[in-house]
Symmetry: C2
Subunit: 333 residues, 2 copies
Amino acid sequence: MEVKKRILTGDRPTGQLHIGHYFGSLQSRAKLQDEYEEYIEIANVQALTDNFDNPGKVRENIEELLCDYYAAGIDFNKATIFIQSEVPAIHEIFIYLANFATVQQIQHNPTIKTEMAQKGMEVSTPLGFFIYPIHQAADILCVNADLVPVGKDQAPMIEDTRVLARKFNSTYKTDILHQPQALFGVEANVPGIDGNAKMGKSLNNGIYLADTEEELRKKVFKVYTDPARIHATDPGKIEGNVAFTYLDLFDKDIEEVEAMKERYRNGTIKDVEVKERLFEVMNEFLTPIRERRREAEGMKEELMKKALEGSVKVAGIATGVAGQMKEAMKLKF
Amino acid sequence: MEVKKRILTGDRPTGQLHIGHYFGSLQSRAKLQDEYEEYIEIANVQALTDNFDNPGKVRENIEELLCDYYAAGIDFNKATIFIQSEVPAIHEIFIYLANFATVQQIQHNPTIKTEMAQKGMEVSTPLGFFIYPIHQAADILCVNADLVPVGKDQAPMIEDTRVLARKFNSTYKTDILHQPQALFGVEANVPGIDGNAKMGKSLNNGIYLADTEEELRKKVFKVYTDPARIHATDPGKIEGNVAFTYLDLFDKDIEEVEAMKERYRNGTIKDVEVKERLFEVMNEFLTPIRERRREAEGMKEELMKKALEGSVKVAGIATGVAGQMKEAMKLKF
């Protein structure tokens, strides 16, 4: 029997998932679950670093996340979904790794730098936030992950994890920590409906898996197109036109999309016609997802039970890894 | 029945204990164990932050520490001795506290600053070292300690722990974290035999509880006195004269010590006479401790068993505290 490679992926439970998440990760997770031994972490402890004063929100979002997973076709019997706070060995592994990371290395981490600037944390940086790159390495190492699906911009994070694992292994003359590899997928460009490159709750520009047909229609008709085009007879731009970016993603009839683009450039199609078509294909795509999500709403207890079972499984693996680390560090009695 | 207050104290297992430790903490621990519910932590995980590449040393030093405790009169049936690495809930509590500490606050911590300078860590600061003030707060909070015996210079560390506890409690509208208080004892001044204000292994100027009578004699005769005094008839200085500092600590016959000081100042006593007397009283004081230590050497297994039992007890308390914290943070399922 061939041993499947292990994949670790996950989310912070900070809100419902949108189509950006779907094309960015959910869709591929639903595929990867057949080929790999897939672990999906709900990083609720890390979510608290940004939301420590609003724990109720983090808690509620776990259930939303489970529903989104189910809706996106993640099979709770194939993938192992687990909740970070149920795996305290992650915190222990973090402490053991902390001797192999430096404060300066985190300070120079581009992601940390950007986030600190965005969140206005330069003068007062919560330690919980600051240590998260190393805590994330503990997430990855705690299940002996072989592969971590990431975007190109997250590649350095995987490299840092590999370095930590190598340093630990070489210091204690062991090979217990697996060096994970980044798994790069197709990076879908899913801008917000307002044309912002990123879709997000705080930007109020997202299309969510949980959106009703009515909500979807409203949002589609608000989608950012070519603001310079006043009349349907004006030639329009396709670049940066979110309606066409979405059509490229959702419309399977590529020839039709190309024909619409041509008519748009020539000023022989109304915006409303493009949007009607966009609504049609998006709704067709999202309807089964929405229906599965509604089904999931009625199964919350069952899905949570599965996640807690997954957590017990991962806690077992992680405690094993922490134990091996302790053995190597002569901390076992 | 009156409930005894809880005391937390402890050591990093980085070497054998000397008379500085004895007068600084061990002696008072042996007294406090009757009046209080005393917990003594062997901080082996924290010891690794400085010695991560030499885990064998940390491991061996645990047994030495246990022997020193026994030698100093700590009763393993009264005090609860525990090993940090056996209480992983401390690491979990650390993570929960980390949201209430900031990087800048640690950077401005005077102890951290001094240690960073001493250890040449300004350019490259291991994260494991950097986070230890918060990890130490987790040590204290994990047993709901009421009191922590410290020197005056460590008072800010206790205050920081109180602040963390308060912030956690007020954020989650709870009172689960106890705010510990500092317990200041008599601060004994025990310089090294070379006159250095501090006694330490790296300075090679210590008198250890494990020293034989022969070693003690050799060290006493090397004790720093008044370097300007060449002949026994020269008037000598008492200030900074380690022989007299030690006599003040060990000689119960205060009048005799005063008489010797007078003769020393007048140049009517030989250094060797002072040192003979010093050896006599130190040896009298240290002989029962040395004998108990030899006894402990033969009981290592038993002492370790006690420490592991203590660890199980503390792990139970700490897991309870971590559980209450999780409850407050809505992380319980």
